[in-house]
Assembly symmetry: C2
Homo-oligomer: 350 residues x 2
Amino acid sequence: MVQNGQITIHDIARRTGLSKGTVDRVLHDRGGVSRKSKEKVMAAIQELGYEPNVYASLLAKKEKPLIAVLIPKHEPDSFWELAASGIDKSAESIGAIGVDTLHFEYDQYDLDSFRTTCAKLLDANPSGVVIAPMFQEATEGLTQELHKRDIPYVFIDSKPETDGCLAYFGMPLYKSGYLCGDLLTGGQPVQNVLIVRIRRDRYQQSDPTINRRAGFMDYMLEHSPDCVLSNVFIDPNEPDKIEGTLSAWFEDHPQVRHIVMFNSRIHLIVPWLESHPDPKRRVVGFDNLKANMEALQRGIVTSLIAQRPDEQVRLAIEALTEFILFRKLPARKDNYMHMDILTRYNAEYY
Amino acid sequence: MVQNGQITIHDIARRTGLSKGTVDRVLHDRGGVSRKSKEKVMAAIQELGYEPNVYASLLAKKEKPLIAVLIPKHEPDSFWELAASGIDKSAESIGAIGVDTLHFEYDQYDLDSFRTTCAKLLDANPSGVVIAPMFQEATEGLTQELHKRDIPYVFIDSKPETDGCLAYFGMPLYKSGYLCGDLLTGGQPVQNVLIVRIRRDRYQQSDPTINRRAGFMDYMLEHSPDCVLSNVFIDPNEPDKIEGTLSAWFEDHPQVRHIVMFNSRIHLIVPWLESHPDPKRRVVGFDNLKANMEALQRGIVTSLIAQRPDEQVRLAIEALTEFILFRKLPARKDNYMHMDILTRYNAEYY
DNA sequence: ATTATTTCCGTTACCGTGCACGATGATTAA
DNA sequence: TTAATCATCGTGCACGGTAACGGAAATAAT
């Protein structure tokens, strides 16, 4: 440990001939200080190089900041579960420095659920909020209220076009589609590609796969202009039918050996892939769900593109904490996360 | 913010009919407490779920933990510079919670320099140390002294076989070589590979490339048993000669289009690669040095394997901080970092 | 001129722990 | 029996900062 001849507010009080109460007032801009005194204090702070003692401050305030996290409800092995576990992890570490965390989860297919969850969140009166938005308008309603109450918030995953948020952490969706094209083709021209898609619920508001598909299309246009792209739709609610659907399709297109999905559900087609092995096939999907990782390590899936959802939330929570505790703004407002390329050879330590 | 009905030592003092002095004594095992009192206090702590207030404790002790970091001295765009910048970043964030950080840098080719730097480090009397070891024996001398003084330490990058360190954060070297094989060959059998090597200084103690090469060899043995592996040595101290060396070699082996280096200096051969373009060539190297990244984005280098040195040190410092402040042991002792695969399509956001 | 407001600032009681100091009663030595 | 020793414990100040409270002086209102 280190002995610290720290400069305290007493020092600068003595130096200015004022009391520590006044010093505290200018430190926190609480008003009620004459211009002259304020200037003297500021000067002394500069000269002596005063830095507040975080411990003493936190102790005296005897308050714990609360960070609320608003994410979609999730099934066991899903993208949002990865995010949630990331929340728990960083909740632990910031809990150590005296910051509490609270999850709020809404049904991403139910606007009402989102609304009521927002209300609950506001009731908890958090000092900061992490938002994974799904419903454009309702989110705006929330952020307006947060603004009114002067509560900072950050977005993760996706974000409204313009917004007064503190920061945003997410994946570059278009680019991830582009990268996906490179991984699927291995950089070589390709004749046929099958895109497996999920019939979206009509209530679904935001769809990241649209941007990914766009990036993918552009890659293919540039590198394999003659490639035929086919689409097959499957229904995650009827997993039994998936194998049949795929088998039927491949009956007509036996030559297709490049398969891609732009959502996190590549694991849905793994049973079919396993029962129809082809060593030359290439399969690319997204996100490090457990089921996906297993398929990757068994060689069924060629590559996954992952975005470290846990790190996304960690950074989001960290940025929020720094702002709440120390009023420190994040270095960048828009933070695009690195896209991790996972293969069977580097999956082990992810 | 949230009001916290925290349990304090007063509460457990009142509950046991003792004074806070006594409670403090059992909390810190300072002796001078009867068996009966001690038991009563322990019981009350259990029942009420007492958790010490870190802020108050740190404030009262009026000490700031100091974390010392011991790494090799480094040139501008080198691996250890990446690590150093990671240190600065996390120093900032833990600085916010009142933890200081201090660099100590030694000449990795000079044992004496390591020794004197260790001495300086010990003089600073840190509460925890992060070590990037290069000299086996001298490192042991340091850790023994740290043990004596009861100072926790963690290793990064590499570590001695057996040691009482708190944790270790590093890259799985052998596996990274194996992965490297897959990236270089694209999973397809290959006829010829050129390994560009650096003539090591004879004083160099640890050489991560040995393990990487081993992993690479095994991959090739399994996937391209007939492949011819050639070695060419270059000297980083005479960059002017590199182009000549390579040109001379390729005169005799024009058919070789797979090139790999197992250290972070792939950028050294970039000038030659640029002046002898070949669209079908594949080049793989290690680490996200600026020069390497540029070559990657220009398409000169096919892939890089990076290990996020900044995250390595962040995790190391974080583990140390948690232990120093809260006596919390890290979840795992050996932490192998994820190997990042970088291509021109995902390099942008790294 | 007197009273009522402001403006500005010092005082003070905390926040929860750490630790030195001294007090108390019990035990032992003289 | 008296003095000295010891085990055991309570008291009180310190750490640096926060913010409520109230007082003095300056200004405004009557």
